[in-house]
């Protein structure tokens, strides 16, 4: 019997290797492959077991993912009521118009990329140029920090891999800019992503498109090929297009990250910010298509005047996209969208589409500049705008807002999952903005896990503060 162990052995041996966690299967992606456009509605228990086996994940996890996304569950509750983009071409309120008037011209962007590539340390050079762009730090703030410092953090976080994600802000009604840019300025978006990849040293780029816009995929492929042919794609940088599985939670980017990983599209808690631990826990910069499309222009001119494409939602007389800069005021935008006399029929503007903040007429001379808006106590969740018509009854409007919240929330955290429901109950019971209704909304805004739950109650609370139970515009 082997009583002789353990014996020291003469065999030379390497030290134990470090363990690397195994990647979990990307369940949603595998589901898409396996289901091939079908929904799970008619699967039997046996089918599920088989599905789980071929995906290589536990059945419970597969079912959970399938139940979350519309593509698999077949529900249409989420995002379905979003107005679609009007056909009219974008208008411009800024001179000179930037993205709208120019074509998808990538020549200068590509030549800059080439020049950068020849410098000794392209990432550092680029970082220097980014931080030197005038106005950038002021206009592109997310989670309290400017773009270049966020990217610098992603570059500085030690990691084997880094990611660049381009999203179209789907999940926000009226965020049509991403969609328009991917359709009309794909080259610039790709060029912008190349800059980002260079700046942080990313090996992989993902462009998320809504699954109702699959036609964009081929355009983006062509644009990527062109960039590759021009030799400006940084080494090892691969760009892929990811059609989402369904509407992400109010455009919450951490929910989007989960979806890209193939997991349930619930929001994640922060910190960590995506720049530190994003996709698969790796540093990730997540920006809208607009940021990427504008980046080459900023680098060329060295300044950023806060131009944006903003969505004007119905019931504006002229809904659609309009390009503005940071000097354009809310009033200018609104009168352009509503026509000069239309303005008098508007009681307030919702800055942020359906959530965000209400801007009342006395604040309409505020320019659409992040800092100035915030100083005016207007917290824009995003930059789409919708009007609250004069005389709109409170309970109709509030109900609409709450139903919107209910259809978008991911349901991970209690306040945001049940808050809208409780608020609706309160509203139904009294038809009035009771103290309790305010308390519910305040609680949801204060305790929710992600930005969506914090943002959707605010306009309702602002209405109540202003008009109590009266119709919009009453004094």
């Amino acid at each position: 019997m082997p009583n002789d162990f353990p014996t020291a052995s003469a065999v030379p041996c390497p030290a134990p290797a470090a363990r690397e966690p195994r990647p979990a299967p990307a369940i949603a992606h595998r589901l898409r492959q396996e289901l091939r456009g079908q929904t799970t509605a008619r699967l039997s228990d046996g089918d599920w077991a088989q599905l789980a086996a071929s995906i290589g994940a536990p059945e419970a996890q597969v079912r959970t993912v399938a139940a979350f996304f519309e593509e698999f569950s077949g529900t249409t509750a989420h995002g379905a009521h979003f107005p679609s983009r009007p056909d009219a071409p974008p208008r411009s309120l800024t001179t000179p118009p930037q993205l709208i008037a120019t074509a998808d011209d990538t020549t200068s962007a590509f030549s800059l990329l080439k020049t950068l590539a020849t410098t000794e340390n392209p990432a550092a050079t680029l970082a220097g140029r980014l931080s030197a762009i005038e106005g950038l730090a002021r206009h592109r703030i997310k989670a309290g920090r400017g773009l270049s410092s966020r990217w610098a953090e992603a570059a500085a976080t030690p990691a084997a891999e880094r990611f660049v994600i381009c999203h179209t802000d789907a999940g926000n009604p009226g965020s049509w800019s991403g969609e328009w840019l991917l359709e009309h300025r794909p080259g610039l978006v790709i060029a912008g992503m190349c800059f980002a990849a260079l700046a942080i040293g990313a090996g992989e780029g993902v462009i998320c498109v809504d699954r109702s816009h699959l036609s964009l995929i081929s355009r983006l492929r062509t644009a990527t090929e062109q960039a590759r042919a021009a030799g400006v794609l940084p080494d090892d940088f691969e760009i892929s297009v990811f059609p989402t599985f369904g509407s992400p939670v109010g455009g919450e980017e951490t929910a989007l990250l989960n979806a890209i990983e193939g997991r349930v599209g619930e929001a994640r808690s922060r910190p960590p910010e995506p720049e530190v631990a994003g996709i698969f826990g790796k540093p990730t910069v997540v920006e809208s298509a607009e940021i990427f499309a504008r980046l080459p222009g900023w680098l060329r001119s060295g300044r950023d005047d806060g131009q944006r494409l903003i969505g004007l939602l119905p019931p504006f007389a002229q809904p659609g996209l309009v390009e503005i800069d940071a000097t354009v005021t809310l009033r200018q935008v609104a009168s352009d969208a509503a026509g000069a006399d239309g303005l008098s029929s508007i009681a307030a503007l919702t800055v942020g589409g359906r959530f965000g903040s209400l801007a009342f007429p006395e604040k309409w001379d505020t320019p659409l500049d992040l800092e100035t808006l915030r100083k005016a106590r207007i917290e824009p969740a995003n930059f789409s705008l919708s009007p609250v018509p004069q005389g709109q009854p409170f309970s109709d409007w509030a109900r609409d807002q709450l139903n919107f919240a209910m259809s978008e929330t991911c349901g991970r955290c209690l306040p945001c999952r049940l808050g809208p429901l409780a608020a609706l109950g309160e509203l139904d019971a009294s038809g009035e903005p009771t103290h309790r209704l305010r308390e519910i909304l305040d609680t949801v805004a204060a305790t929710s896990l992600c930005g969506f739950g914090r943002d959707f109650p605010r306009p309702i609370l602002q209405w109540i503060e202003r008009w109590r139970h009266q119709p919009a515009g009453a004094s």
């Binding site: 162990f5 978008e408 349901g411 955290c413 209690l414 429901l421 204060a446």
Partner: protein, 687 residues
């Protein structure tokens, strides 16, 4: 020292500590319903929110690290208002949706409701439409109408138990946590480990049996589970002399996260529901009658003396079963060898033909369970862990998820094979060949260091085992840092039974009976002569009982199957059965003695990683039941041998003298102070 402030009190920063943990450390009570023992905070209930200076929004204390300079307010009026309001939101929603709880009656949640003065949801008119209470499972009960869909059960099941029983059905307000596929719990892969019960804040998930109101005052004792050689750390809560609840110790080295298996979690339920023997009983005709201990022991003493007088001491034998502490097993063999003078003593630890020899070897296993958390390769050799040692199966799955390679060698495809990189159904190791393309060979070669090998009793023959050991030795594996072997016996306290000398061919301390010097030393210590030959092994004793070579038998917690019992035990002059319940062997017994369960006695058990652990009595044995060591001590006195033991600690001290290489330096007192137990060789032991 870096500090932060919680409610204006300075708190020292500890790495990786959340605000919640730090607050609890300094005695601040925060509601934290959805916290789980797993590594990832859920942050779904949002009741633990606290205010931190400079942050625009309150943060969840359970998921936010405490950082230097933070100034945290945990019970600010605004925060308390939000908490109250949140509880009300949930209660009010019950009227509007089936997806909010309408029946919360228990657990932390109902305590919070009453603390914050929130009226629980009134029973709803549509209560009948709510999903039914799921009573399908033998050990758990699930009431969907009490569930807040926090996900604590799901996360615990996935990250602690490594099972996948729960799913989230539906998004947003329709989110509902349910057993996979909406099936009854009994039809899910649930292993009944019970890990998900404690984290459930609402009482939606409760133990099916013995669910008692939490308000009653309970006594709580930390002990270990002696039912298998994993030796999980336990907290045993009792009231009125009955065990109410058993839960795992989160920081135990043997079952991190507090995972238990069905046996450890629910053994007390079985003990309480079984028809325990609680009184000594003597056979009267076809039945038994209750007698006092005096009568029973007098009867045994008289019969034993007569038997030894008529047939010689070797006509008596004793068998130690799995439920014995090391001390009791030691006394049983001492009783047999020195009081009666018979060599026939053996234990169930002897029944693994392949493992037995190595486990008695000089060094039974070199690795610890904790090495699994670092190993880069794990070989599971002849052990169906999900069946035999589920807690280890979970630990192996965690290691695999963390990146360890897994090789399963087993004649059947076992549950763990699914997670394995390589399943090898041939128990013979592949020949050493460094250039082979066989995935097994490649894996072994790349992971020569950092390989931990778990050896179980399905390994069939000693040859297979020695083949594997020399294969691993040939690679230098077992001697390398972070590498080693663990032998998993099938029964609880496997190594304790072996070490105590309750074996046919070895004396305490793994000394062969044939070693006359060692025998003389023991004779000196005991002051009695010992038989010089090895005794009959367990099976041999049963045969001997059938053939009439043995006339008397003592079964301490040993239970043969029915056929064996009927075939072998019927013709004895004296059969003493000392056990918890009336089973197969009892049907032929002359004397039935009531035994104490492992929750009811003090003693030690030794687990598969050579960890000596202290069993603490959580409740007294019922009625007249007594632990084996106590009964044997009294009986020995009746037979004219005075043993001085007052408690198991003294017995252990004597055993430690006889097994200095293993137990030197270990005492009950030290074990009492070191809740994680002591692995031999014991540091400072030989000083």
């Amino acid at each position: 020292m870096k500090t932060a402030h919680i409610n204006s009190r300075p708190v020292e920063i500890r790495p990786g500590e959340t605000i919640l943990a730090a607050a609890q450390r300094i005695g601040i009570d925060l509601p934290a319903p959805c916290r789980t023992p797993g590594p990832e905070p859920l942050e779904s209930c949002r009741l633990c929110v606290v205010q931190v200076n400079g942050q625009p929004f309150p943060v969840a204390a359970c998921g936010t690290m405490l950082e230097a300079g933070m100034d945290v307010q945990t019970h600010h009026v605004a925060v308390e208002r939000w908490r109250t309001s949140l509880l009300r939101i949930v209660a009010e929603s019950a009227a509007r949706t089936d997806h909010a709880p309408s029946r919360v009656r228990d657990g932390v949640w109902s305590e919070l409701l009453s603390h914050y003065g929130v009226t629980p949801p009134a029973p709803q008119r549509n209560d009948l439409s709510k999903p039914e209470r799921d009573t399908s499972h033998s050990w758990l009960r699930f009431d969907p109408a009490a569930c807040i869909s926090c996900g604590a059960c799901l996360t615990t099941c996935e990250t602690v138990a490594h099972q996948h029983v729960w799913e989230i059905a539906g998004r947003g307000p329709r989110r509902r946590i349910q057993p996979v596929g909406g099936r009854p719990l009994a039809l899910t892969p649930c292993t009944a480990c019970g890990a998900c019960i404690d984290p459930c804040p609402t009482g939606a998930l409760v133990e099916r049996h013995g669910h008692h109101p939490a308000e009653e005052p309970r006594r709580s004792v930390e002990s270990v589970c002696g039912l298998c050689p994993v030796g999980c750390g336990l907290r045993i809560e009792s009231a009125d002399g009955e065990v109410r609840r058993v839960s795992g110790l989160v920081h135990s080295p043997t079952n991190p996260g507090g995972l238990l298996c069905k046996r450890g979690k629910f053994a007390h339920v079985a003990h309480q529901n079984w028809d325990r023997i609680t009184q000594p009983m003597l056979r009267r005709g076809a039945g038994f009658c209750k007698v006092s201990w005096d009568e029973a022991l007098d009867f045994i003493a008289k019969r034993l003396s007569a038997l030894v007088h008529a047939h010689g001491p070797a006509a008596f034998g004793a068998i130690a079963g799995a439920g014995l502490s090391t001390e009791s097993a030691y006394l049983l063999q001492k009783f047999t060898r020195s009081v009666i003078g018979s060599p026939h003593i053996d234990s169930v630890a002897h029944t693994d033909p392949a493992l037995d020899p190595v486990c008695r070897a000089a060094f039974p296993g070199t690795a610890s369970f904790a090495d699994l958390d670092r190993a880069t390769c794990i070989v599971v050799l002849g052990a169906d862990l999900d069946e035999s040692h589920p807690v280890l199966a979970a630990r192996v799955r965690q290691a695999v998820a963390d990146g360890a390679a897994l090789i399963v060698v087993h004649p059947r495809r076992i549950a763990l094979s699914k997670s394995a990189d390589c399943h090898h159904s041939d128990l013979t190791p592949p020949p050493p060949d460094d250039s082979s393309d066989d995935p097994l060979c490649r894996l072994l070669l790349t992971h020569r260091s950092g390989t931990v090998c778990l050896v179980g009793s399905d390994i069939a023959t000693p040859e297979h085992l020695s083949g594997w050991m020399s294969r691993l030795n040939g690679l230098g594996t077992s001697a390398l840092p972070g590498a080693g072997l663990i032998f998993l016996g099938g029964v609880g306290n496997h190594q304790g039974l072996l070490l105590s000398g309750a074996l046919a061919d070895s004396l305490p301390g793994h000394v062969p009976v044939s070693d006359s010097q060692a025998r003389a030393r023991i004779e000196d210590l005991w002051g009695r002569c010992l038989p010089v030959e090895s005794g009959l092994p367990l099976t041999g004793m049963l045969v001997g009982a059938r053939d009439g070579r043995l006339r008397g038998l003592w079964l301490a917690g040993y239970e043969p199957d029915r056929v064996t019992a009927d075939a072998t035990l019927a013709g004895l002059d004296l059969l003493v059965v000392h056990d918890l319940i009336y089973q197969n062997a009892s049907r032929h017994a002359h004397v039935l003695l009531p035994a104490a369960s492992l929750h009811e006695q003090t003693g030690t058990a030794i687990n598969a990683e050579r960890r000596v652990q202290l069993l603490r009595a959580a409740v007294p044995p019922p009625d007249e039941a007594r632990p084996d060591w106590a009964v044997l001590t009294v009986l020995a006195r009746r037979l004219g041998v005075e043993w001085p033991y007052l408690d198991p600690a003294e017995i252990f001290a004597e055993l430690a003298l006889l097994a200095p290489d293993r137990l030197a330096g270990i005492t009950h007192r030290r074990l009492d102070e070191q809740p994680e137990g002591i692995q031999w060789p014991c540091p400072g032991g030989n000083a």
